[in-house]
Symmetry: C2
Subunit: 131 residues, 2 copies
């Protein structure tokens, strides 16, 4: 396992993190994800961490990096499916995830991205439909 | 890693197989998936195997089993993202996947499921979709 698959769903990309992340895998994911955002002209990225029982500072930093990178490319990212224990750890460790949006599950994360796309389109002027 | 996460997306469930399947993991996946189909009243199941470079008879049988089980529960399943090399192996090994629907990617798989749902809803009597 040397690659985490990135699935395209409409305008969005979905990544499910199932395995223990190590340095090289995290770098590969960042590279792949930013390439795919550009290639697929993705408007948003969903990162599912529902199978992670521990999020340490390394994974936290990776999630923050991915959020910053995709945002720089014009795509928002949402971390979905965080387990309650992970949320507790993140707060107790004082990890800074303030730039990372979260949602309860994929459905809600996608709704968040769609709402934001529509919001951005409305604020732009008179364009109700994104694209 | 003793569980493969099952993501709910609207009426459908999505499973991304990233790790090597062994007996117990396959059994857990079958149990979890059938439970979730019932619990979430899912209309379809998408199984992404894009990160699998080898599909042996064990995985083939598991995919066929999952297709049969979910169909019994009233939900169709589609295997998506199969790599070309895997398709070659499946044919060369003479593996029987004739009950398993496939699609190129998640988007197309979801379109297939939606088309089938609409088809079923429109004409319950004469079946326009070949099985």
């Amino acid at each position: 396992m040397d690659k985490i698959p990135i699935l395209k769903m409409g305008h969005f990309l979905l990544v499910t993190i199932q395995v223990d992340m190590h340095d090289r895998l995290a770098m590969t994911l960042q590279d792949d994800l930013t390439s795919r955002v550009v290639k697929d002209r993705a408007k948003g990225v969903l990162i599912d961490i529902s199978s992670l029982e521990i999020v340490d500072s390394f994974i936290g930093r990776m999630l923050a990096n991915i959020a910053a990178m995709t945002r720089t490319l014009g795509a928002e990212s949402v971390v979905v499916g965080m387990q309650p224990a992970v949320a507790i750890t993140i707060v107790e460790l004082g990890m800074s995830l303030h730039n990372v949006r979260t949602a309860l599950n994929v459905d809600k994360g996608m709704a968040l991205l769609i709402a934001q796309l529509n919001g951005l389109a409305e604020d732009d002027g008179n364009e109700p439909n994104p694209e």
